[in-house]
Amino acid sequence: MTSPNRQIVFDSVSKFYGEVLGVNRVSFALDPGITSLVGPNGSGKTTLLNLLTGLIKPTRGSIHVLGLTTGQPVELFRQVGYCTQFDSFPPGSTGYDFIFWPLRLHGFGREQAARLTDEALERAGMTQVARRKVAGYSKGMRQRIRLAQAIAHHPSVLVLDEPLNGLDPIARAEAIALFGALAVQGMHVIISSHILEEVDRISDRVVLMSSGYVVAEGQIREVRQEVRDHPMQILVRCSNAARLASAAFELNHVVEAKIVNDGRGVLIRTRDAEQFYLRLNKIVCSGLIEVEAVAPADDDVDSIYQYLIGCNGGPI
């Protein structure tokens, strides 16, 4: 079990804006790695990130980031970098200034701050335009310079609010690779997104949010297991789809078996995936069919979200 001093812990946290609910009774503990906060607009993702970084204070409950509270800004913000989604910058500042001066506030000397600034600019691919004013940057460049500022001081916790917004496909791929590299180094990378497919591929775990509540939390597969009410979909590519479908219908836990359009596979919906896999093994061993591939068809965030909240995947 990970020590609380390495975790991010929300303990029964609620936040109300007057009578409006921000988030309610949120409790979880996050280990290092990539965690995605997923939910539609207004579900409380940004509120949760702002609570984590002390930009807003909880109405109830407590938050600990690596054992620190938001009441300890000097210690906390040495460990935390936050790339917000506020698309605003200090007037007149250049990309370089935007990173260099906050590093000076961290207490770094001029030379060290300059070195860290150059390093962060390079990682974000912004070295060439660093001396230009931020006001003249494109949306993607502004996003990248904010990311560069958030990682410049080598934080242990990187908080990213919709970090892929405005990035072109190449920059997206680079950013995702960067997040992966940071997580491998043992960092906490917390990403909020309303686009399910973009976090599905990179997350170690997800926190699904809706209307201020956490509706599910954990590794994607674990969360999927929690959705007992919804049969799991398994796609079996095989030589004899009709025979497999027929065999599957004999099982009580199988609620649907549908031959896919090309006739070379069956989409099974079952309430007990483990039992189905055992049965499939027997069918394969009997030599009735040849199986090319077996894969869960709804073992992704998109499907889980659809089951839990009744919302379509993709942009919510």
Partner: protein, 290 residues
């Protein structure tokens, strides 16, 4: 009990990273001065400081000959009125309202305050850094203007004017005016900073403060201690008789020694700044609600 408190205070003092705080205050001041002093939106503050200077320049342009030394006393009273009635009551008041309320409110309007809250800087240090930056800006602007007014007032008297400055009470008066200007900036600055943290729109409370400062002379002596202009009155190097209809209501407070007036104003400012340090801790970043 006292000994334990003293020991704890000593420990606390030793635990604090003072060098880091000093660096942070320096960086905050540098950022704020760049943001506030050289901004186009601050043009009206320059104008407020420059109005008397422009009037004196125009007067000088039309006066062809050197003024008669006989009028030095009269010019001295005019200069005292410029400093005490214009700068202290109006110019510095409104300039400080603009500069100090913008220190935090401006960042909320520009949606950049979160950057200040996401660095390892104590919020109290943030308040002090911004306050010092605002103070430096306002002192620089208004002391420059007062110096220019002083020069234009006495230079037109030629040798007699320079003699008044260096052989007479001129230098002492200049020192007093500069002190009054600096203290007024500090006093109003601290109050407007606190108001900007207390109210989303500090303009209305600012106008209430203006009313308070206006009626301060007719308030009881204890209430006058909560007025910046009342402290400044005791530091005026030239006697300014109270004139107009309010004169009959004016409460003549006992003269206060300059040192006490200075300390009184500084204590008032420090108390308001401490209040600001408590207020800043309550601030949350909810730009959409502003």
């Amino acid at each position: 009990m006292n000994a334990r408190l003293i020991t704890r205070a000593k420990e606390w003092t030793q635990e604090q990273p003072w060098e880091l705080y000093a660096t942070q205050i320096f960086v905050l001041m540098r950022n704020e001065i760049r943001r506030n002093l050289f901004a186009r939106r601050r043009l009206w503050v320059y104008l407020l400081a420059a109005i008397p200077v422009v009037i004196l320049l125009v007067q000088r342009a039309f006066a062809r000959n050197t003024a008669e030394p006989f009028y030095i006393e009269s010019a001295t009273r005019v200069l005292a009125r410029i400093v005490h009635l214009y700068y202290v009551r109006l110019g510095i008041f409104f300039a400080c309202m603009g500069i100090f309320t913008w220190l935090f409110r401006g960042e909320v309007v520009e949606r950049t305050l979160h950057y200040q809250f996401l660095v390892p800087v104590r919020r109290e240090v943030l308040v002090i850094g911004k306050f010092l930056a605002g103070t430096l800006i306002s002192i620089f602007l208004f002391e420059s203007a007062v110096l220019a007014c002083f020069y234009l007032t006495y230079d037109r008297f030629g040798a007699a004017g320079w003699s008044y400055i260096f052989d007479g009470p001129g230098l002492h008066q200049l020192g007093a005016y500069l002190l009054v200007t600096a203290l007024t900036c500090i006093g109003y600055g601290s109050v407007f900073l606190a108001l900007s943290l207390l109210f989303k729109n500090p303009i209305v409370p600012g106008l209430v403060l203006m009313g308070w400062e206006t009626i301060a002379p007719i308030l009881p002596a204890w209430a006058q201690r909560l007025s910046v202009t009342s402290y400044m009155r005791h530091l005026c190097p030239v006697e300014l008789p109270v004139e107009g209809p309010l004169a009959i209501f004016t409460v003549v407070a006992e003269p206060v020694a300059p040192v006490l007036a200075i300390l009184g104003l500084l204590c008032l400012s420090v108390a308001v700044l401490v209040l600001s340090c408590f207020l800043i801790d309550r601030i949350e970043i909810t730009y959409t609600a502003e």
